[in-house]
């Protein structure tokens, strides 16, 4: 027991040692230390590492950072709240008194740390306030870089938008250097390449006296800006396409068929990404998030639709390649096709008469393709659909891409417990039925014809800083040159010959090739597609225009395509 006592005494000595030490520090030398603590206050000023800027293919900035002036108050230095409030009212005439009171209450809980009063007050007001700091010592102006989407909604389908980081995300991402004030990309390029775009914050540790005046700098950590991104997008073309679609719902994609570079990608309805990074836009943000028309959804890649008649390109290819038809094969169209007790109509009531495949493409004759499709069979059609890149993601560098659906007999049986009917094949051949595609898949299909049979990987990011990022990914799908030539001829007739369904897309001086599509929906209004490429001989661009509930492909979609082609020519991309 003596040992236990000895232990107790030893540990009690330790305690006493501390008590004596504390007494000395706090009671005896207390006033000395109090004095010292008031003389050297340390302030940490964060230096923001700005987010990387985003440029289009001509080097024009699309997304930039601008300086935002934020007003803060430091409770302990502010003194008389009423006086400060009166002063602020002279500068911000419409200031909310209740909100200001709330801010002051909040500031009490962090008496030495700056509390935010108002964000983004503008340069003029910032200057006035900075000049008044001697009279109103608690005020502080802090500058921050803020994201600016120079072209607003026009580029929003490509750029995406930013959002504030949530607590849950911070838990997971803190180890990678994220802090509580960070913004993180939520869609588009901002999300896909968030890692490259993020800058690194630095900081300044300065010693200030009790009035907040800087005495000396203790340490600096430099901030690093994020990497600049150079896109393949031509912003003038992008803007034009966005204006062309106007209030309609739909999309436009313009691509280089050889390389996969995306010149323009527009999805409508869209939104202005600036609302997410500007203070006071809460209502607009809510509206955008809850809008039943889904403006935040990128219809080019994230929505699947029945392709309608544009799919006849695949049916033609399947039929020609498998030898089931040749350029001399012809079928008679009298406006309808009978299958057992069912009648499948052609879009032209009186029929097209006798046609071969070239004319059938030109007129988009359903009956011709009903015949062809049956001869080829659904399995082969499905095979070629997959070859042309349907049913899987294209790999475009935007988040949220859907794969679409390429149906076949086994799929149908697994899902619906029904066998495949001939009627299904008929629908398949004209791009209706269970088939679902995204607009980006459609433009890739047409690129395949344009470039001589290669499946390209569409991409938007060309360079990060000075480093080439794009890897031109092409895959040969194995079509005979004859097939390609024949389809090309058919597509040219669609636009350039009288009677073709896509004549409204004709461009003087340039041979445009294309295919219209009218996809039936469950309402009485159809979706309109128009996809194609130009110039015929050596294609430099390919495109797809899709108008939700836009009537026939030969209507609005083709007209829009025609205008866009003019602009493309103007931009020198042809």
């Amino acid at each position: 027991m003596n040992r236990l006592k000895a232990f107790f005494i030893a540990i009690s000595c330790g305690f006493s040692f501390l008590i004596v030490g504390l007494f000395y520090l706090q009671v005896i030398r207390g006033s000395y230390y109090r004095h010292r603590s008031e003389d050297n206050r340390i302030m940490v000023v964060p230096i923001d590492g700005p987010r990387g800027r985003i440029f289009d293919r001509t080097g024009k900035p699309i997304v930039d950072n601008r300086i935002s002036f934020d007003l803060y108050v430091i409770y302990k230095e502010a003194g008389d709240f009423r006086r400060l409030e009166a002063f602020l009212k002279t500068i911000f005439v419409n200031i909310d008194k209740k909100k200001l009171l709330k801010v002051f209450q909040q500031a009490k809980w962090q008496p030495f740390t700056p509390t935010l009063i108002m964000e983004d007050i503008g340069k003029e007001k910032a200057i006035v306030l900075e000049q008044s700091r001697l009279e109103y010592p608690g005020l502080r102006i802090n500058t921050r870089p803020r994201r600016e989407y120079i072209y607003g909604r026009a580029a929003s389908s490509v750029t995406g938008y930013l959002g504030r980081i949530t607590e849950k995300e911070l838990d997971r991402l803190e180890v990678y250097g994220f802090t509580k004030d960070d913004y993180i990309g939520r869609s588009g390029i901002e999300k896909k390449y968030d890692d490259y775009l993020r800058g690194q914050d630095g900081g300044l540790q300065i010693e200030v006296d009790s009035r907040g005046r800087q005495q000396r700098t203790l340490s600096v950590e430099k901030a690093e800006p994020g990497n600049p991104l150079y896109l393949t997008i031509d912003i003038e073309l992008q803007k034009f396409c966005e204006e062309e679609l106007g209030d309609k719902k739909g999309c436009v994609v313009v691509m280089n068929p050889e390389t996969g570079e995306i010149y323009a990608l527009v999805s409508k309805p869209d939104f202005d990404p600036n609302i997410f990074v500007t203070k006071g836009k809460g209502n607009e943000i809510k509206a955008a998030l809850h809008d039943k028309r889904y403006p935040l959804l990128n219809r080019c890649i994230s929505c699947t639709y029945p392709p309608g008649s544009v799919f006849k390109v695949v049916t033609s290819a399947a039929a020609l390649e498998s030898g089931k038809i040749s350029v001399n094969t012809s079928y008679q169209c009298s406006g309808a096709y009978k299958l057992g007790e069912f009648t499948f109509k052609c879009w032209k009531a009186g029929g097209h008469g006798t046609q071969n495949v070239l004319e059938a493409i030109k007129h988009s004759c359903d009956v011709f393709f009903y015949n062809t499709g049956l001869k080829v069979g659904a399995e082969v059609i499905a095979d070629y659909a997959l070859k042309f890149g349907y049913g899987k993601q294209t790999g475009i560098d935007l988040p949220g891409e859907m794969s679409g659906l390429v149906p076949n007999a086994r799929w149908k049986f697994n899902l619906k417990k029904e066998s495949w009917y001939k009627g299904d094949t008929l629908n398949y051949s004209i791009g209706q039925g269970y088939l679902l595609t995204t607009p980006i898949q459609v433009v890739r299909m047409v690129a395949c014809i344009a470039n001589g049979g290669y499946l390209v990987k569409p991409y938007i990011l060309e360079k990060v800083g000075n480093i080439e990022f794009a890897k031109h990914d092409v895959k040969k799908i194995g079509l005979h040159q004859d097939t390609i030539d024949m389809i090309k001829t058919g597509l040219s007739k669609v636009v350039n010959e009288e009677g073709g369904t896509g004549v409204r897309a004709k461009l003087p001086g340039v041979l445009v090739a294309g295919k219209t599509g009218t996809a039936q929906t469950h309402t009485d209004k159809n979706h309109g597609w128009f996809t194609g490429f130009a110039p015929l001989e050596s294609p430099k661009v390919c495109f797809v225009v899709f108008v939700e509930f836009g009537g026939s492909g030969g209507g609005e979609a083709s007209i829009i395509a025609g205008h866009i082609l003019s602009k493309i020519k103007e931009r020198g991309l042809l």
Binding site: L18, I19, L25, Y33, S37, W109, Q110, T113, R172, D181
Partner: protein
């Protein structure tokens, strides 16, 4: 069977620990206010989450008969050593040292768990030699058990956690009944040999020792922390500046202020009175703990009890000593109060073991 013994549970210790934890939450909040901004409760929430985990582990440590733990002590020891070795392979460097394993949002520090493993293992060893406890061979045996974890931890490098093992060892060996001479020889040797270890210290550790003697040789570097911590505590004077009103703490001035240096904030905001309060609460734990050790007749219980008291008591002394400049800076946390999951969980398990021993003392 257990219900009868629950009457023996030391409620005082439980309330004291709870009070210390709540004080800890208050000051983690104050300390982290200025860098968490509008997520000000972030660290507090995490600390509460850790406490839930700690209570879960603690309950197990409390309900399981401690003698069972003694039985599997070698397994526990091997597991703890195993974790320390794993750290070399997958651990991350933070603040220049390899001490943590990251699991999701939480860091896990195996050296902390080594303390518990060491206490249990040494208790098992000494208890078994009860018959011949006087012999100096036991001292050597105890040192052998110390050597492997001590080396592994020191090489991380984590001098503080390794050093705590020494007073734990000395206390346990003393109460066990090993002859005093060999203990004295050991302490003596430590003092003589310590200058030679100077070579093995890393540069920053050397600086810390130099700066302990005279902080002003490097006022903006290693001496910085200690000067500012003293200013913080000293400027609290008798009654402190008030919660959340500490200027040294709020102004991002003391590094690690929510972990190792949290006592600076307590001293600054609650003054001498607050500091005494914390010391008093720890003293209660030590006092009640010693009473438990005195009351129990089982040697294993005594060993575990004294090991836990030595761990909590000396770690507190070293931590507060460090923040007041009375001892050199070695990185140890203030039990129950400092922010940090591993420290909290291990401290709670330690107290649970102490209560465990206290509860079952009437069996013997």
């Amino acid at each position: 069977m257990i219900r009868r013994e629950l009457r023996n549970v030391d409620i005082v210790i439980i309330t004291t620990v709870a009070t210390l934890f709540i004080i800890g939450l208050l000051f983690v909040y104050s300390a982290s206010r200025s860098f968490t901004g509008n997520m000000s409760l972030l660290l507090v929430k995490r600390q509460i989450t850790w406490m839930c985990l700690a209570l879960f582990c603690g309950t197990i440590a409390f309900l399981v008969d401690y003698r069972r733990l003694i039985d599997i002590s070698y397994f526990i020891f091997a597991a703890a050593v195993g974790f320390l070795i794993i750290i070399y392979i997958v651990g991350e460097e933070r603040l220049g040292a390899q001490r943590w394993i990251q699991i999701g949002a939480f860091g896990f520090q195996p050296s902390e768990f080594m303390k518990i493993a060491f206490i249990i293992t040494l208790a098992s060893y000494l208890g078994r030699r009860k018959a011949n406890i006087h012999s100096s061979m036991n001292m050597i045996g105890a040192l052998a058990i110390l050597s492997v974890p001590f080396l592994l931890i020191v090489l991380q490098p984590d001098l503080g956690t390794a050093l705590i093992l020494i007073p734990i060892l000395v206390s346990m060996v003393l109460i066990a009944g090993v002859n005093v001479k060999s203990i004295m020889y050991f302490i003596f040797t430590c003092i003589i040999v310590s200058p030679f270890f100077w070579h093995f210290l890393k540069p920053y550790q050397k600086k810390r020792l130099l700066v302990f003697i005279n902080p002003n040789i490097d006022p903006l570097g290693s001496g910085y922390t200690i000067i500012q911590s003293k200013i913080g505590i000293g400027s609290g004077r008798l009654i402190g500046k008030g919660w959340l009103c500490g200027t040294q703490g709020q102004l991002n001035f003391i590094p690690e202020r929510h972990t190792d240096f949290i006592f600076s904030i307590i001293g600054e905001e609650w003054g001498f009175i607050g500091a005494l309060l914390v010391l008093f609460l720890f003293f209660i734990i030590v006092y009640r703990g010693i009473r438990i050790v005195q009351a129990t007749n089982d040697i294993y219980g005594k060993m575990i009890g004294i090991g836990v008291i030595a761990y909590l008591g000396f770690q507190m002394i070293i931590n507060i000593g460090m923040t007041t400049g009375l001892l050199p800076v070695v990185g140890v946390t203030l039990p129950f109060i400092s922010y940090g999951g591993s420290s909290l969980v291990v401290s709670v398990i330690a107290v649970a073991l102490l209560l465990n021993v206290g509860m079952r003392r009437s069996i013997f």
